[in-house]
Symmetry: C2
Subunit: 418 residues, 2 copies
């Protein structure tokens, strides 16, 4: 009896291996081409108190000058700079003090040759004055000040518009708002910033064997790890996670969930080629299954496509594969959609392998590492699919498809989990 | 007339320069000694959906085995491994298929020599089976399966407790919760994690010249930049910012605000040695003014101390100095208090200076840089105190106190703003 005698009944066609696998490179290219251009998601005004790390949707132009008036940049005496010519500690020059300038208050009076006004940092420069003598170079008896050094015109004076001029662009489309940008926008009178709307990312967990977060695993059921993990990843990448209940292995239920409101849908589970793996078929029937099966380990059953204008990523149910597939493809799409850098947000560390790292030509490997100083120890390959292999790891190394791995002692780039 | 003829009336003692400045090194040492030991803030249970980047307050131990049963790690056939001995595509060995094992369901029946059960990834291994033959190495006609390759005992089977055993510590005190840690905790049945409470950081902005966020600067008043900027910095560093209204330059009002509930108080404005700078005096009178005046530029008027058990940082009102003083001292304290790494969260880039960077021995300089590839261009020193000097910058270089700067072309570490 020969194997060829066994026909494949149609009913079982779906229970097979992947006919062919797409390269990681081609899958990344598909992601990049599938993400609509910048600005597709539209703009929302967010409070400056919630604007940190949001992406600016348009240039922001100042309507005001900052400062809006010439002001003292140090505590001291506002005066006419020429009055200080020749002043030293051995040749102190006296000036009559007319009064005090406090911040936010206009000084009633004019400084002229031979006079000065005591001034606090931030106070408006009184009329007639063109420089500030720092308190360190002055001696004051309550009525007269002795000038102990020279100052040039404009010295220690913040000029009108020195920081920002009305009409200046102070923050640019596409930039990430940092704390100082938020401070700047506030100083100009804004209390909101126009940000790119965050991509709404629906997390669709399917599998009859799964119990929801907060339930102890029992019998032959396991508790979902991927939903909460993906929610944290989506948030990190600037998306807004939307989590529904776990969806049973049922075509109609899955199709309804795939059609719920979202910009991106992450499906975890039911994405391979087994009997209960409805999702690829549904996507192919009702939308586009662009890629299914990728030459990488783990995560080879990953798929991606479109349905009703939203991007759909089929992530393997195994948590390690789910994490890896998210990081390679879905996270990239979410970051790009939100106007962020497509590349991994992980810091890189150059480290030396403590053991050789074996891979197979034609497949990208995601090898988890423990870091000790600048050495990287590959975690044991057995049990590669268990979640503890990534919770025990500090980062990972990518073995490219065109290599067979790295020898012991090789210098590699480790991407550090955070 | 000689300068020494001028006496300093008591009323003016406070309007002077700093008598002496503390070194940055000593100020950092004070911060480190002032932050109470780990765990001072206590523990709060946070939902796993909000636990990303929180710091774990105690070890978490699993109460369950994961998986809680032996299960298939691939789609294929559960069988007795010995039945595959000698099987190849040229010597296919037939087995009777007893039925199908689906995830979460117990199979009613026992596999024995000569029989197999079709099995899906994640399904419990049926009684009697000890290995899974992958679908790729099998041909199936609906009744019998042809084995096309050998499998060894245990192959493609996830053993009970292979990922986590009951009693294992799966996450450790002090670690930052990453997405995979959150997934792991969920898979064990948890829905909350014990996190160190976030430090409550009161942001106290004082100054009669200041208008609150959302108000256009007008007349001789300026709009607060520091409150929203500090709120973003505090959030970044794992603290919980508490913002009240702007406090007038009034001793009683400031003292009341200093005594409001908080773990750390950041005071911006009124912190120098001028006439309206009440805060250092208040802190000295009612608590401890440990340090006031630091040998650095900008931010030399920075102070720090304690009041009623809380840490108080006096940050200069100038926004650039405020940012710099926060980053050097207050941020460090907030991160340490929350159990985080004390060091700056900024990524470092090794870059080459396009121009020389001049500093003064005895003072630490915070020099803002524009980055182009791997070159760093120091931003113009004039207008060093304007906020646009940090919004236009990509990062900064620290010039240590014992140096006079760096020559053109020098390799420097740039800390990248984010």
């Amino acid at each position: 009896m020969h194997a060829s005698e066994f026909a494949h009944p149609n009913a079982d066609v779906r229970m097979r291996g992947f006919a062919q696998r797409t390269t990681v490179e081609d899958a990344l290219a598909w992601v990049d081409s599938a993400v609509p251009e910048f600005g597709k998601l539209g703009v929302e005004d967010v409070s400056l108190l919630n604007a940190a790390r949001r992406v600016l949707a348009r240039d922001v132009t100042s309507r005001v000058n900052v400062p809006g008036f010439a002001r003292a940049m140090m505590d001291g005496f506002a005066l006419v700079a020429d009055d200080t010519l020749g002043a030293t500690t051995y040749n102190p020059l006296p000036l009559e003090v007319l009064g005090t300038c406090l911040p936010s208050q206009a000084f009633q009076g004019t400084v002229s040759a031979g006079s000065a006004v005591r001034i606090m940092t931030g106070a408006p420069l009184p009329e007639g004055a063109n420089a500030v003598l720092p308190i360190e170079n002055a001696q004051f008896d309550g009525q007269r000040v002795l000038v102990l050094g020279e100052v040039s015109p404009g010295k220690h004076v913040g000029q009108l518009g020195e920081d920002v001029r009305a009409g200046d662009v102070v923050a640019r489309t596409g930039q990430l708002l940092r704390p100082q940008d938020i401070g700047m926008l506030s100083s100009l009178g804004f209390d909101r910033a126009p940000a790119i709307r965050r991509p709404r990312v629906r997390i669709l967990i399917t599998g009859n064997e799964l119990l929801p977060m907060g339930t102890s695993p029992t019998g032959f059921q396991i508790t979902d790890a991927n939903g909460p993990m993906l929610a944290a990843l989506v948030t990190r990448d600037g998306g807004e996670p939307i989590m529904g209940p776990i969806v049973p292995d049922d075509r109609d239920a899955i199709l309804a969930a795939l059609r719920a409101d979202a910009d991106v849908i992450l499906v975890s589970g039911g994405s391979s080629v087994g009997q209960e793996d409805h999702v690829p078929t549904l996507l192919a029937e009702h939308g586009e299954l662009a890629i299914h099966g990728i030459a990488m380990r783990p995560s080879s059953p990953t798929g991606m496509g479109r349905l009703d204008g939203r991007l759909v990523f089929l992530l393997p149910g195994n948590p390690v594969s789910c994490l890896c597939a998210y990081d390679f493809f879905a996270g990239r799409a979410i970051r790009a959609l939100g106007g962020r850098d497509r590349d991994w947000p992980y810091r890189r560390l150059r480290a030396q392998l403590t053991r050789k790292l074996v891979s197979v030509v034609g497949r990208v490997d995601y090898a988890r590492m423990r870091i000790d100083g600048t050495t990287a120890e590959p975690l044991a390959i057995s049990g590669a699919s268990v979640l503890s292999s990534v919770t025990r790891a500090d980062g990972f190394v990518i073995v490219p498809a065109d290599g067979e791995g790295f020898p012991e002692g090789a210098e590699v780039d480790v991407y550090l989990y955070e």
